[in-house]
Point group: C2
Chain length 219, copies 2
Amino acid sequence: LIRMRDVRKVYPHPAGDVVALDGVTLEIGHGDFIAIMGPSGSGKSTLLNLIGCLDLPTSGEVSIEGRNVRDLSDDELTELRRDCIGFVFQTFNLLPLLNVVENVEFPCILKEGSRGCEERFLPVLKAIGIERDLFSHRPSELSGGQQQRVAIARALVNDPRLILCDEPTGNLDTKAGSQVMELLMDLNRRGRTVVVVTHDPRIAAYAKRKIEMMDGRIV
Amino acid sequence: LIRMRDVRKVYPHPAGDVVALDGVTLEIGHGDFIAIMGPSGSGKSTLLNLIGCLDLPTSGEVSIEGRNVRDLSDDELTELRRDCIGFVFQTFNLLPLLNVVENVEFPCILKEGSRGCEERFLPVLKAIGIERDLFSHRPSELSGGQQQRVAIARALVNDPRLILCDEPTGNLDTKAGSQVMELLMDLNRRGRTVVVVTHDPRIAAYAKRKIEMMDGRIV
Ligand SMILES: Nc1ncnc2c1ncn2[C@@H]1O[C@H](COP(=O)(O)OP(=O)(O)OP(=O)(O)O)[C@@H](O)[C@H]1O
Ligand SMILES: Nc1ncnc2c1ncn2[C@@H]1O[C@H](COP(=O)(O)OP(=O)(O)OP(=O)(O)O)[C@@H](O)[C@H]1O
Ligand SMILES: [Mg+2]
Ligand SMILES: [Mg+2]
């Protein structure tokens, strides 16, 4: 599904360029369930952004289903991210002026207009444990863990083939965290490919395969 | 140091008022080291905000060093928060247009103007593991765990007597997380009062006392 060859990612910066990824080669197959671990600053979020086609490498190749990401047009990239990839950001990135329902159904509306989105957001919010009485709350009117779960629900609403989660349980208690991982395992059993960045070995234990990062490399 | 009697906090909301705290009574003594745990949405951040005088209860009393928070003038409250309380927010709340150094020295500059702040931010950034080469980065140019540690450094720069941390290790690997907790333990040994909200039992284990919350109450 995803192939990376000798990928480097450098962030130019006045204080000194940062080599966030320093020659990464990896393959993610259909139906994989991968955990990416490593110290703070080791390049995990950067790697996930490249897998999710949110950014391009400085050098090296990223291919999704055999096609080099560099060769895709802007329209093709947009369509790919909207229809095939669900991304949960480390800092959630919810839209502050929209409420829970509007945030979660947003990718669905982008994909199909507003018909049929109601049946899509209800089951996903239920599965993630967000109650009806919170539906009209805006992100600033939610707890940290509730915001995190709404971000996860939003990533899942279009039933994407590739699910990418950056620290999806950092603000959740053990019970809510297991609920999220059970949901991801269930989606994986039904054929979805899942990649989770996590600092928590107990969360990584749900995955079939682990990748360890250190200083921008896979070790 | 802090005394709360029968504290209720209700957030009015068109969808239905939310009783975030439902009759909380507790005391925090000088030199305490307390961990607050509980499910997502149980009221932990709300409780911490009241302890830190960032908000007032709907009913009930919050006193800090014998003085009811309601009786303090705006100036007295501002001075209290700036000089005596260090607060680490669950979502960091760093100032996006300021770099690491400017963010961390901000409370110091508020307190004493810009003299002497250099000697204050250097040791605290060193203790928390943020290297010099990141000093001129803005929050958006940092990893999630680096942002979290900069938020912690900012809370500690004025050497506050009361240190309040809302999920301070959620984005940190085990090693960086222990480094933060060792720092808090050291500050506690030297007389500072520490309250940490956490979902992680291994982080709570550093505290001398644990408080469990459920549905806005202490259980
Ligand atoms: N401004 C607000 N308006 C309405 N409801 C709110 C507001 N802020 C918080 N709440 C609600 O109050 C309850 C308690 O929130 P709080 O942030 O204290 O929980 P928490 O224990 O810190 O949760 P978490 O572990 O997820 O961070 C939640 O159900 C939340 O939805
Ligand atoms: N826009 C940017 N400009 C400069 N440096 C950056 C930028 N974004 C990230 N970095 C740096 O790149 C490195 C890798 O960042 P990344 O966010 O991938 O780390 P991470 O492994 O996800 O860390 P964490 O576990 O703390 O979230 C970090 O040292 C960070 O400071
Ligand atoms: Mg990250
Ligand atoms: Mg909270």
